[in-house]
């Protein structure tokens, strides 16, 4: 056990799995960096934000492959390799770049298993960073997990802390289905105690980061931390919250969400992705259908507006959910007065 950053935890997960299984390989743009450079320094970058640093040095060019800037071909190649005996972890850098290779993910990889009558096995992990907060503007800030969640055949993982990231990534690498593993870019320097050895966290099992009686908050990725911040503050004001981190949006731990809503009767969902057809909408539908009678107040969603992510800091802050907005939503559901129909 030692303090590790989100970045280190993810790096360690890949390193341990590469040591354990020679079929695990890494590929992506500048995952080593420096190939074809004039200084002769390889492993010059270790990924654009340093997440794969050192893997090339330990495992060499046959297992850590730099790619040209050609997402359609290397993401597709990773899928093809996964279907034929390797276990690739392909880095897409910014998840926004999925626009350049969506066919290989959506029409190819995701459908193999079903379309081929259960014969295919595609142990592929696609890692990508997502999310706003870096002033990276409209093409480098999206939270596209609903896009992947929408596609049957893909599993979608959103770790909310370094500990979660390591266990979930090892699980993803050992999983035999294609997994989209999404890392919030603002979290790479977050630190916490993380075991040194390998461990796994199963998919489809939500984590309750706190339990309370009044309101259930469901949050994803970085939003889990913000939800807990808001819950701390609310606690001091006498409002106790359960915070659910579903960990994976596909599969989704419906039971835990429904159980908690049955207990608290109030639900706030915090989702950083564009609001139409996002996870907040999905979970709202689930709860409206399955737990209608338990609800003491309308469901509240803390979500961005239906706009691209703006560049300027003031606008980006306005765009994003934050602890204050979560706190306000919780208070709104607490203050809801049931009006009896005449």
């Amino acid at each position: 056990m030692s303090k590790k950053s989100f970045r280190q935890a993810i790096n360690e997960a890949m390193r341990l799995e590469m040591r354990r299984d020679p079929r695990v390989i890494i590929m992506g743009e500048d995952v080593a960096g420096g190939q074809g450079g004039t200084s002769g320094v390889v492993d010059a970058w270790g990924g654009v934000l340093g997440v794969t640093k050192g893997l090339y040095t330990e495992f060499g060019p046959e297992r850590v492959l730099d790619t040209p800037i050609t997402e359609a071909s290397y993401i597709g190649a990773a899928a093809g390799a996964a279907a034929t005996g390797l276990r690739p972890v392909a880095e897409l850098m910014f998840v926004d770049f999925v626009g350049s290779c969506l066919d290989q993910i959506m029409n190819q990889t995701a459908k193999f298993r079903y379309m081929f009558g259960g014969k295919a096995r595609t142990p592929l992990v696609i890692r990508a960073m997502f999310g706003a907060g870096f002033n990276a503007a409209a093409q480098h800030s999206q939270a596209l997990y609903p896009l992947f969640t929408h596609i049957p055949g893909l599993k979608v993982v959103i770790p909310s802390s370094p500990y979660e990231a390591k266990g979930l990534l090892i699980e993803a690498i050992r999983d035999d289905d294609p997994v989209i593993f999404l890392e919030h870019k603002v979290m790479y320097d977050d630190e916490e105690e993380v075991p040194d050895e390998a461990y796994t966290i199963p998919f489809g099992e939500a984590n309750l980061t706190r339990e309370g009686d009044d309101v259930t908050i469901v949050a994803f990725g970085r939003m889990v931390k913000l939800a807990n911040e808001a819950a701390d503050k609310l606690e001091r004001q006498g409002i106790s919250c359960t915070v659910i981190d579903p960990r994976t949006t596909s599969p989704l731990d419906r039971d835990t969400i429904l159980d908690c809503v049955a207990d608290t009767g109030r639900l706030v969902i915090v989702d950083e992705s564009s609001p139409r057809c996002n996870m907040a909408a999905d979970i709202s539908a689930l709860v409206a259908e399955e737990a209608f009678d338990a609800l003491k107040a309308p469901i509240r969603r803390v979500i961005p507006p239906h706009t691209p992510v703006p560049f300027a800091s003031v606008l980006e802050a306005l765009y994003l959910p934050d602890a204050a907005k979560i706190e306000a939503a919780v208070k709104a559901v607490m203050n809801h007065k049931v009006t009896e129909a005449a």
């Binding site: 450079g37 002769g40 730099d66 040209p68 350049s100 870096f134 409209a138 560049f311 606008l315």
Partner: protein, 321 residues
Amino acid sequence: MQIARETLLRSYRAMRTIRDFEERLHVEFATGEIPGFVHLYCGEEASGVGVCANLTDNDTISSTHRGHGHCIAKGVEVSGMMAEIYGKSTGVCRGKGGSMHIADFSRGMLGANGIVGGGPPLMCGAALSHKTLKDGGIAVAFYGDGASNEGTTLESLNLATVWKLPVVFVVEDNGYGEATGSSFAVAGTQKDRAAGFGMPYLECDGSDFFAVYQTAGEAIAHARAGNGPIMLHVHLQRWYGHFEGDAMTYRAAGEVAEAKRDHDCLDLFRKKVTEAGLLEHAELDAIDEAVRDEIESSVVAAKAAPLPEPADLLADVYVRY
């Protein structure tokens, strides 16, 4: 080669403006006041300016993540660009785009682009408009050696040929895509790629404004005359990291220093025009001074400019909704 005095003065000023703009951003970025990612075009000025000196506002260009130089070369106003990079409401995109998304349709500048390979298909479309509307304009897609490998780029070479579109594909080859050398990432040659699509190919030294101006002039004349697309391969060196903050450990010690010493497009320009008696040192010095003032005042204005209003968040997602 005959170049109008006006063109020489304007081109020198544009190159100097780009240099000072970028050098100033390099300094300002280090203070932490500039948000987001910034990719500098220093060392590559003669490419954008040499190409765009052959264009008018009626012609269309697409740029890349390294877009400030193309914007300035195409006539986008500097103070609006600076304000945009600072995320202010007076920015050319009202603070909503930032460095990687500066665009000015009134200048035929269809945007810097955060997506590698995003521009070439768009320029096929712009060329289709020019051709269909018979407005005499052409389209220029600027893209890097790294972007030359993207499927979108290669498909565009094919589409432009099949549709005989007036597009000039300008490969700005600075030898690197991020930290990876093009000797590793680019298979074959740009020349053979053009040939593979049956497309004519020209190349030039991108530190020599005159070489770029002349070669681009030929390429643009080819496209304007209705002969279909053409590729222009410009050999360049970038002086700073891929983005601000990149330590460039993948480059040999002295590589950038040598580029600055021997291949500075501004030095080479000055030497050439003064030796040939085309312009006086004093004229160039006056431009240097005017540009210094312009950049200074653009930074002062950008810092003082108002932030976007909350209502701006929801504006302009659609024309009508």
